[in-house]
Symmetry: C2
Subunit: 227 residues, 2 copies
């Protein structure tokens, strides 16, 4: 079947996201530098985040809770309770950040809008994602917005079933091989990988898929030449 | 137009929710009782929650962050940082709670399922709500699940537009006058209020609407006699 629906990941595909997490981690390391070295904080934080992922899911609030938990685990009696206030502030600043669109995003969506059904398929906290979509001004280009709990094969399957889309009519565009590419190819859909310079450790994969329905682009704008 | 779609609120309409928040608040008061009286903790917590609502939205993770913030505001140097660990535990226990269905819920949904399109229209954290729906075993009765950021008139309007429903074909069933009843009546839809014994202060309204499309039931099962 001909391609009919293009789904876009949002964070680090349409707008900047992961660098804000990295910046916040750096701010946390700076806060703690008189007490603990960066690599120790980093190691514990990553472990706490992964442990909490099934309970908290993806998003800033879960990240805030994990930062707090990691700091307490490290601190013992070394830090006062008011130290946590600064972590709450770091998190609130993240929630308040403006949305920074990546290169040419609006032009690309405008060009594709009439020719395909465009979907936003993003992962994370519902309120965070809706707020970012609102601030981005991109809402008008999308026929449907889907905030997914996770992006496994079964999650894409249920999305396609619900929207009545065959995998062969469906293309996913995103920066994460693990979340945006591999599960969609497995279902028989098309997938376009647009790598972003910062990708969370948990989302990284070493192997680039070899697959007839897979393409890798260095810039999102390549979509316009490809389609 | 004849009634075609019935939307159910979930928390405290289909399953127990608010009492878990109240229980957790009581556990927090007990934790702090050697330092601060209950009414002081309660007052600050409520204020912090309302202030954070635009940023955090509804849900357990935002509640955890607000409990932490309230305790730090109160504490000064009086409490050690490890005190926060106990609040994280209280929150994690909430996230892990089993789902307790209210009376006759499954029987009611089974009876209505063939005659109407049933929708779950709930508010809060996407992951929390999906987890509860999964644990509840009620997913099979619903044609569509909508986790809403808020339940204002505009939120219901966009839900109806997206699902191609006229207000006059739509009935909302829920325990909150403010969130489930008033906005739906304002749009011209039907609304059935089933009060629950515990309602968060922020959701309370004094005036019972007088309206031809409004009904109040003491038990959800009254729906079966009404329809």
């Amino acid at each position: 079947m001909p391609l009919r629906v293009i789904a876009f990941d949002a964070d680090d595909t349409l707008w900047v996201n992961e660098p804000y997490f990295r910046d916040t981690e750096k701010a946390l390391y700076a806060l703690m530098q008189d007490h603990f070295p960066e690599d120790v904080v980093n190691e514990i934080l990553f472990k706490v985040e992964i442990d909490n992922l099934p309970l908290y899911g993806y998003g800033i609030k879960g990240f805030m809770l994990s930062m707090i938990e990691a700091v307490i685990q490290l601190s013992g009696q070394a830090l006062p309770i008011t130290f946590i206030e600064q972590i709450l502030l770091l998190g609130k600043n993240m929630l308040d950040k403006p949305v920074e669109l990546l290169d040419d995003v609006e032009e690309i969506l405008a060009a594709l809008q009439g020719r395909y059904r465009l979907i936003l398929a993003t992962k994370g906290d519902l309120l965070d994602q809706q707020r970012k979509l609102m601030k981005s001004g991109l809402g008008k280009y999308f026929h449907h917005i889907e905030v997914m709990i996770d992006k496994r094969e079964s999650d894409y399957q249920s999305l396609m079933t619900r929207l009545d889309i065959e995998p062969s009519e469906f293309m996913m565009v995103g920066n994460s091989l693990k979340s945006d590419i591999v599960p969609v190819l497995a279902l028989g859909g098309h997938a376009v990988h647009v790598p972003f310079h910062t990708t969370w450790l948990h989302e990284r994969m070493e192997d680039i898929p070899k697959h007839g329905k897979f393409r890798e682009l260095h810039r999102l704008k390549g979509l316009l030449h490809m389609l």
